[in-house]
């Protein structure tokens, strides 16, 4: 990430993600503040995806928000990548900015982390590349003039200049799959959740910077 992109991320007044943060704050006030205190959200985004012991599956923060809507508020779930879901997620994640990523590693989550690692190392697509081949073996080198990053998901939801808007880690993962000419999984697929968990575990201890800005 270049100096200018970093400056946009650090611009708390007129960085482009501010528009989503403000909308998220409004949505929080209307939908969540009746039960939750925003101070309690500090650190929450650093712990997702997490194992939901009742549903017996992994949920990310988007899923958590929608579960709250469908179960407690009897409201329809927001669709993936909807403005509302991204804004509220960005606002909640913002509360954990600067905190170290700390997803749970225990006997419940371990199989999911291993499944995520398998996804990460799985060759796929017409280019027959795995995530690891670029982001473990060749980070720091250049691909079409831009450096290959280590693929740490520290800033999601993220404002990507390419998208000209805010998007989720799941959208970014779909991007990668399209990049190696593979058919992406459907939105909400478990493959994304285990990959998200593996990536967050791999980035454990790194500081969350949501909402980030990337090229």
């Amino acid at each position: 990430m270049g100096r200018e992109t970093r400056a946009m991320q650090d611009d708390e007044q007129t960085g482009p993600a501010v528009l989503w943060l403000l909308e998220g704050e409004e949505l929080w006030g209307k939908n969540c503040a009746g039960c939750h205190r925003i101070e309690k959200m500090k650190g929450v985004a650093a712990r997702f995806p997490a194992f939901d012991s009742r549903l017996r599956k992994l949920v990310n923060l988007d899923d958590r928000i929608n579960l709250c809507r469908t179960e407690h508020q009897k409201a329809p779930a927001w669709t993936h990548e909807s403005r509302e879901l991204l804004s509220l997620n960005a606002f909640i994640s913002r509360q954990s900015r600067g905190m170290p990523i700390a997803v749970e590693l225990d006997e419940k989550t371990k199989p999911f982390i291993e499944a995520g690692r398998a996804q990460f190392e799985q060759r796929r697509g017409q280019l027959n590349l795995s995530c690891a081949q670029c982001h473990d073996d060749n980070w720091g080198k250049s691909l079409a003039g831009t450096p290959i990053p280590q693929a740490h998901p520290t800033g999601y939801p993220i404002y990507r200049l390419e998208w000209q808007g805010v998007g989720s880690l799941e959208r970014r993962l779909r991007n990668c799959m399209i990049g190696v000419r593979a058919e992406p999984y459907a939105y909400g697929a478990e493959e994304y959740r285990v990959l998200e968990l593996f990536l967050m575990w791999r980035a454990r201890g790194m500081k969350l910077e949501s909402p980030g800005v990337r090229p």
Partner: protein
């Protein structure tokens, strides 16, 4: 989304000070040069004009073109002459219109 705008003006300033004003408007600034995957041209939808009036007198304005990035940032300066209101206005294609008023106290 409904037009969301962000304006950064200091709450107060000394008379004669030059203050910096930063504005951000939520808008896709669709260029009119992009196509969908099936080849349909996406029509242009941009903000065409931005203006700032200080107690009713226009002190800054700009004409924008498709080459302005999505969610346009416009930053400029003005001299704090007297206490009052700063009115910001954005207008564009398809009847787009957004406005914001800030108050400034000059001491």
């Amino acid at each position: 989304m409904a037009a969301r705008v962000v304006v950064n003006v200091p709450a107060s300033a000394k008379k004669g000070d030059v203050i910096e004003i930063r504005t951000l408007a939520g808008h896709p600034m669709e260029t009119g040069f992009r196509h969908t995957q099936t080849g349909q041209l996406i029509p242009r939808d941009i903000i065409l004009r931005f203006s700032c009036s200080y107690n009713g007198v226009e002190v800054f304005a700009a004409d924008l073109h498709p080459a302005i990035a999505a969610n346009p940032l416009i930053s400029f300066t003005t001299v704090a002459t007297e206490s009052g209101t700063l009115e910001f206005k954005w207008t564009g294609d398809n009847g787009f219109s957004a406005a914001h008023t800030s108050t400034l106290s000059v001491v």
